[in-house]
Structure formats: C-alpha cells, structure tokens
C-alpha cells in the first residue's frame, strides 16, 4: 500500500505547479456601480461577495482566513472587514478562524507562502484563505486565493500541490463616500506629535487606573489601585497619598492575575475602588485636611463607571475577567467574559468598549457599533486634541510585544501610534488642565517585575 502511495505522490509531484484555477461556479465578484455607500455598507458588501465565492468553491472546513491591508491606511478597514467575513463563513458552517500571517511575498521572504500554510496547518485548518484589501481612489478591492493546506504524510518534504479546491477570490466595490485616500500627515513642523513622559515606577502590579479631580483644583489626579493600596498621583507623577487596603479581608478565592476597578461618582466626589484580592471594595472621599483619600464605606461588588454613571459588574471568580452581565444604559451588555471595559460619555453620546480574552473588541460609539479583531488589554477613550471627539487608544494584542505599541484610532483622522517598552496592560484618560485636552496614562509591566506609569500627550511643535 505504501508503495502505491509513494507512486501517487511521485506522479503528483512530477506534475509540477498547478496553476491557480478559478472557481468553477461563477459567483459575482462585483456589484454594478451605484451611489457610494457608507464604509460599513461597503465592507458588508465585500464580505457578502467574498462569502459567495468561497462557498462556491466548497472548501473543506475548518478555514483559516488571513486578511491583510495592501497599505497601512487600509488597516482599520481590514480589521473591520475580517469579523464581518468570519461571521458569514461561520453562518455557512465553514468553521473559520482568523489567521495573522504575512502573505505579501514581494515584501516578505521567499518562503512566506509556506509559512502561512504551516501556520494554518498548526491552527488545525484544512483550507487557507489569503486576502488583501486595497483601497484605491474610488474603488475598494479585495483579492486573494483559497487553497487546501492538508498534506499527505507520505509526501514527505516533496512539493506536491495540496488536495482540495483551489480558487482565486476577488471582490470590488465603489469606495464609500468620504473615504477617498486620506492624506498622510505631512511631517513638517506645526503638526501635533505624541510625547511620552515617565511619571513613576511601582514595585506592585497595577490592577486598575482611574482619574478624577479629587482635590478640586481643576486638574485630574491619577488613581492607581494595586493589591496593597490605592495611590494618588498628580499629573506630574508626584505621589500625593496612599490609602492601604489592609482593613479589607482577603478575597476567599484568589486570582493569579488579579484585576481591579476604579469608578468615580460626582458631587460630592467619591472614589469607588475594588481589588480582586479583597473580599470587599471601598468608597473613598478626599480629606482636605489630611490631603489624602479616606474610606467612608464599603462596596460589595466592583463598579464600572464613567462621567458620573456607574454600573455593578462582577469579576469571574479566580480569573482575570469580568463576568457576563446585562447592565443599564449606556453600558449595555457584557456579552461574554471581558478582559477590559472602558466607557466615556461625550456630548454626542456614549462611547463604550469591551475587550474579550481572544483579542476581539466590541466598540460602541455614537457613530455606530464596530468590531475590532486584535487589540490588547489596555483600552481607553481619550480626547488628545480637545476637539470633542475621543480617540480610542489600544495596546498591542501580542502576548509579549517588543516594544508594545499604543494605537490611537478615530473616525476622523488616520491612526497614530507610539511605541513604549514593556507591556501596556491598563490605560486611563487624564484631564491635564481646564479645558478639553486630555493625556493618556499607561501602566506598563516591565520585564524585571516592576511597573511604570507613563503619560502620553499631544504636543504641537
């Protein structure tokens, strides 16, 4: 039997490279030109077209789907298109999974195709779909191909065309209105740049960050919750006070990666702090005489909040996530265990974001809901330029990025990034002075086990 297999492999191997053939079933690859739609409609249309072509090729599930932007400005739309496509393929029972692999062979090494196949195989997929999103003037195009990745053991190291269907995929739609290629920010002087300032280092792990004008001087103070204390810093990183959590009993069930939650209630200003290492949380108020926070009551569960509104949430016992829950408006619903929660009430409505352990994020803005595919645990809305619309700051989704990269994305401007060494796990917005301008504070875990607090702000040169 093995001889027969070897012969088959030999014959197949000698056949050489089989050219990629088009899917036999004719599926539409472009809709008739029509009035430009919104970006969301265009992406939905592209996802529908691609799904039809993929289904027509009858690929054996599970699928590994890799979607890369052709240029960096297409990256946010590629990130938005991927979950749409995955949802449709999943509904078609094709068991899709996102695969992050570089498949642009002109830029990567020559072996990149093989690496992508290997990554797909390792993830348990039978079929690999590699797509590239290109945003040209007036038209958005997704191109790519589909092929099987399963390999016969008896083929050994020989290059043999993979079994299963092979198809070229292509979908084109007119670009949505207002999505003409955005000009890259010119690098001359006068443009705002992001500047990072080190504030402080801590020996303990930071469980939560918060910001509030606790002493009423018009500038926010930074609140840092660790397993041992709630620390207060001013915007320059000077420590104002330390409130130990010793009075609180330890939690009955410990966590290896304990989390915390800080919420603030206005008039009179109260800080609601809850550490997962403790059985209860505390309500704290500013003691002007002692210039420190003083406990005025206890909390039975953590409170998630923003702009004066709070909702009761729960930690998943013994884990580092928040349990699913139905919350009041504007917080909505925690649909599954979430690893990070952030919210903000702006003049134009509520901004709410949840990050799930697999790196997916659900973002609710006044402009509509959005799904992100790969973000880290650090997430916050921050209005760096003070013009009223907050940007979404996210950390890298990688386990051990070197360095970690903070990404600021907004609907109006291209994404901006700033690299910071260490691992960014907590973020909060901090109002620096009277007015709308805000800074972002990141808590970074450093390789030696200590933590650092870093302020990132926009500075006009």
């Amino acid at each position: 039997v093995s001889v027969a297999w070897a012969l088959t492999a030999l014959i197949l191997g000698s056949a050489g490279d089989v050219p990629v053939r088009r899917a036999t079933t004719s599926a539409p690859n472009a809709l008739p030109r029509q009035a430009p739609a919104s970006a969301a409609q265009t992406l939905t249309g592209l996802a529908d077209l691609l799904t039809a072509q993929i289904r027509a090729a009858v690929p054996p599930p599970p699928l590994a789907v890799s979607l890369q932007p052709a240029e960096s400005r297409a990256a946010p739309d590629a990130q938005a298109l991927l979950p749409l496509l995955l949802a449709r393929l999943s509904a078609a029972r094709l068991a899709p999974a996102a695969l992050n692999c570089e498949h642009d062979c002109e830029q990567a090494a020559l072996t990149c195709d093989h690496d992508c196949d290997q990554a797909a195989l390792t993830s348990g997929a039978r079929t690999l779909i590699q797509l590239t999103l290109r945003e040209d003037a007036g038209v958005w195009t997704v191109q790519g191909e589909l092929h099987g990745v399963w390999r016969n053991f008896w083929d050994g190291a020989r290059a043999v065309p993979p079994p299963g269907p092979t198809a070229a995929l292509s979908a084109t739609l007119p670009a949505p209105k207002g999505a003409e290629p955005l000009p890259l920010p010119p690098p001359e002087t006068g443009t705002p740049t992001l500047v990072a300032t080190e504030l402080a280092t801590l020996p303990d792990a930071v469980e939560a960050l918060g910001a509030a004008d606790v002493d009423g001087d018009g500038t926010d103070e930074l609140l840092v919750l660790t397993s041992r204390a709630l620390l207060t810093y001013d915007v320059q990183g000077q420590r104002l006070g330390q409130h130990p959590l010793d009075a609180l009993a330890p939690a009955p069930i410990a966590s290896r990666d304990p989390r915390g939650m800080i919420a603030v209630l206005p008039s009179p200003l109260r800080v609601l702090a809850f550490s997962q290492t403790r059985a209860a949380g505390e309500v704290l108020a500013w003691d002007a005489g002692a210039r420190s926070l003083r406990a005025t009551g206890t909390l039975d569960s953590p409170r998630w909040g923003c702009s004066g509104q709070t909702a009761q949430v729960h930690f998943t016992e013994g884990e580092n996530t928040f349990a699913p829950a139905v919350l009041k408006r504007p917080f909505g619903r925690i649909s599954r265990e979430a690893v990070a929660l952030t919210c903000r009430l702006g003049a134009d409505g509520a901004y709410v974001a949840q990050v799930f352990p697999d790196g997916a994020a659900q973002v609710q803005t006044p402009g509509g809901p959005r799904s992100l595919a790969a973000v880290g645990s650090g997430i916050a809305f921050v209005d760096l330029d003070g013009e009223g619309t907050p940007e979404l700051a996210t950390s890298s989704a990688l386990l051990d990025p070197d360095p970690d990269v903070l990404t600021f994305s907004s609907a109006k401007a291209p994404s901006r990034t700033i690299p910071l060494p260490g691992r960014i796990l907590e973020l909060t917005a901090l109002r620096m002075a009277q007015g709308q301008r805000e800074a972002l504070v990141a808590a970074r875990a450093l390789p030696d086990g200590t933590w650092a607090l870093t302020r990132v702000e926009e500075v006009s040169r």
């Binding site: 992050n100 290896r256 997916a360 645990s377 386990l399 691992r423 875990a445």
Partner: protein, 464 residues
C-alpha cells in the same frame, strides 16, 4: 540589621504572586497534555526530586512557597515573616483541604517535614532550627501558625523551605498520602484545576500527563497529541541543580579510594557520552565552587577487591554511568558489581549506611548555603553542619553568603565521602500555542502557570 535586606526581599516577593503578564493578558481555560519521558512519579515529594518529577509532583502536591528567580512566590503559606531575627513565623492560607477533604493544619506541615528526618538528605535544610528535630516538632502554634526558632542567623531559611522535597503531604488512609496543589487528580494522568488554590487557580482547566519513553514523548509532541514535552531533545533550559554524587564508605573501600576514582574518571567524557539531557560536569560539592586539587593515587592498588555499586534504576542516566564507573574502577583493581534499586530503597540504604558504593542524585537548593548543607549531609558530614553554617548565615549580604558557601564547598569536597560527578537540568518544550510554565530558581518548571494563546496573541511569522 541582618534581617532588613531579606525582609525587603520578602516583601517585594510577596507582590509577585502572579507571573508578569503581557500586553494582552493570559486567558484562563483549555487543556494541555504534557508528554514526559520517564517512569511514574513517586508519590513522596522527597523522592520525586528529579526536576521533571518535581514539576509533575507539584501539580497536586505543593509546599509553602516557590523559589523563583524573581523572588519568593507563596503557595500554601499566607505569610512568612521574621517576628525577630532568630524566629520565622509562618501562617498557612485559609481553608486548605487535602483531596480527601481533611483540613491541612500547621501540625500536618510539621509532621510532613518530620518524615524527612528518617532517611532523607533534605533534613539538612532544617539544620539551622534550634533543637533540631525536637525544635521542628514543637513549631506548630495553633491551627495555622508555625514558629521556627533559629539556632543561628540563617537568612536563606524562607527560600530553602520552598524546596520541592518539602512539599506537604497528609495521610490519606491505607498508608497513602495526598497533598494540596493547583490541580487535583481526577483520574490517573488527568488533572483538574483546583479552583480554591491559595495562589489562585491555574490558568488551565485540565492538564493531562502522558508518561512514556523519550521516543514516545517526541512523537506525541510532533503529532500535537502533547503540547508540552518534558525532558525532550530541545526546549527551554533553566539552572542545573540536580546533582549526582558517587558515595563511598571509606571503611569498606579501603584507603585511597577517592584518589583512584579521581585519577580514572573523566567527568566531561561521562557527561558527553552517558548522561541524558542538559548536564555539566561537577567537580566540587556544589556547582560554581572551586575544584579541589586532585590527590595522587597510592602506588599499590588493591587486587580484586569486590565492591557493590548501588544505583537508581528509575533515572535513565545512572545505569550507563554506573557501568562506566565499574569499568574504570576495574582498571584500578576493583571488582565492581552493579545493583539497581528503587529510589526509596536507595535512600533507605543511604540512611542506614548499608552500602559500599552508591550513586545518589539530589536536587540542590538554589542558594549556596542550604545547598552546602544538603551536600554535606549527603556526604556523611552531618557533624560539620553545626560548624560551617553559622559563619555563612552570619553574613547579611546574599552575595557574600554565596561566595563563602561556595569556597567552603570547594574546601570540604576532599574530606566528603561524596565524589561529585555531574549536574543535570530539565528541558521544557512548549508548542506554539502554549506559554508560561517558567522554570524556577531550582530549574523546576512551574506547570501551573501554563496557559494557552489565542490567535491574536501570537506574533506574526517573520515579524520582529
């Protein structure tokens, strides 16, 4: 004065209960299979002291703490504090229960440690305790507190109590003993997360252990049937602290035995050809200690003196090493017979002194002071402990203690009845979707910190 640095170290260590995690957090859940090339792990933690065995034993039987390169991580202990420079006070975590549901008390801890005084070289870790065995027996105060009085300053006591051999077991009926760990044994080879473990539940929901031979382990890993391989051909290595010595009874081997062995033995050859896994030659009692000058062998070798060399049959390296030593000694006029024993039987023969030659492997503590104590005990120099240790413990600085302990180890090697041979470590090979499982200061992987990665957490291939 002397306790200040160690207190600071302890305080900073207590905050390190969780591993330093990443820009995206480790996620809970999932199951992992560990392929292990070896034999079944002995139930007694004092016998499960090979690094791979210690890693697997620690799944359901842990000690008070774990000695990691970053500092101390508490396990079953809630706190370890110095109430005075010569007294260590330990408080156990709340609600500790063994698998049979019995609560674990301070008396259980003392009883478990007291067992080491019968036939384990690790009893030397308790040498600094005032009153020795009796002092230890009287240490439990109330239900969950231990007060260990010290005979002399010994800043390394906290960390040496984290040694895997000092893991706590309680009687489970019919002579069996069970412990408390981050996992509980669901069925043979299958572990379930213990949700109430004091240091926090492990990240994984389930962990399976496939005990097989080296070839089977490599195959299981290659076929993705196992996601983690212990003691495989490649992988992450840690410190090498599993030391093997050739013990001899000078009254039975006759004079000049050490010199003849030293003259005939090439340790680097031994390590290169006969020892499995990551290993290095060991020429003094402790790794890093200065090697003593080799004595010249006596002129008139014995003719046909018959000796029996006992070795541990469960360690794959010991049989070929024993054969090699027998061959070398044969050239020197000794007629050496080999006898393989179970580890428990071997330790019994060591404790009773009923041997001529013996190979013994022990896991050296990460700190040189406690390691010297264990190595001296193994080499039959129990009386020396009271002379050597106080001078080492009197130094407040970690580096100075280390240097003094190593120089003493070098000086005492020649008078010991243990001839150091080699040190071994363990290799931990993780699949692409598995992270964590960091090796501690003794080179033992902490399998309770293993977790699975999501797609988004994987670095893109070819990326930076």
């Amino acid at each position: 004065m002397s306790r200040l640095p160690s207190l600071c170290a302890l305080l900073s260590a207590l905050s390190l209960g969780s591993p330093a995690l990443a820009a995206s957090r480790a996620s809970f859940g999932g199951s992992v299979t560990v392929a292990h090339a070896g034999v079944a792990v002995p139930p007694d933690p004092a016998l499960a002291d090979a690094p791979a065995d210690a890693a697997l034993r620690a799944l359901d039987t842990t000690g008070l703490c774990r000695d990691t390169p970053e500092g101390l991580t508490l396990g079953l202990a809630r706190s370890m504090t110095r109430s005075s420079p010569d007294q260590l006070e330990i408080t156990l975590a709340d609600g500790l229960q063994s698998r049979k549901g019995a609560p674990l008390t301070a008396l259980d801890v003392v009883t478990a440690w007291d067992r080491l005084f019968r036939g384990s070289p690790y009893r030397a870790l308790f040498a600094p305790i005032r009153g020795g065995e009796a002092g230890l027996r009287a240490a439990s105060v109330g239900r969950d507190r231990l007060q260990l009085p010290l005979a002399f300053p010994w800043p390394d006591l906290e960390r040496s109590l984290c040694h895997p051999a000092l893991a706590i077991t309680v009687p489970a009926g019919f002579g069996a003993r069970t412990g408390v760990g981050p996992f509980t044994l669901a069925s043979p080879g299958h572990f379930r997360a213990a949700l109430g473990f004091p240091a926090g539940r492990p990240f994984l929901d389930r962990l399976a252990v496939e005990t097989t031979d080296a070839r089977g382990a490599a195959r299981a890993f290659a076929l993705s049937r196992a996601q983690v391989e212990l003691d495989g051909e490649a992988g992450v290595e840690g410190p090498r602290r599993f030391a093997t010595y050739l013990l001899f009874r000078e009254d039975r081997t006759g004079p000049g035995f050490r010199a003849r062995v030293e003259a005939s033995l090439d340790r680097s050859d031994l390590v290169r050809l006969f020892v499995r896994g990551p290993a290095a030659p060991l020429s003094a009692l402790l790794p890093g200690a200065p090697a003593p000058t080799t004595p010249t062998p006596l002129a008139n070798p014995p003719r046909g003196q018959s000796l029996t060399l006992l070795y541990d049959g469960s360690l794959p390296s010991q049989r070929p090493v024993a054969e090699r030593i027998a061959l070398k000694l044969h050239d020197r006029g000794y007629d050496v017979r080999l006898q393989g024993l179970e580890r428990a039987a071997l330790r019994e023969r060591w404790a009773s002194g009923d041997y001529e030659l013996m190979l013994q492997s022990i896991l050296l503590p990460a700190e040189a002071g406690p390691a010297l104590a264990v190595a001296l005990e193994l080499g039959g120099q129990h009386a020396r402990l009271a002379q050597e240790l106080p001078a080492i413990g009197a130094l407040p600085d970690d580096g100075e203690r280390e240097a003094l302990a190593l120089s003493r180890a070098g000086a005492l090697t020649a008078s010991s009845q243990a001839i150091p041979l080699y040190v071994q470590g363990v290799r931990l090979k993780k699949g692409p979707r598995v992270a964590g499982g960091n090796l501690d200061a003794l080179g033992v992987p902490d399998l309770s910190t293993l977790f699975l990665l999501h797609d988004a957490q994987l670095a893109p291939p070819g990326g930076p």
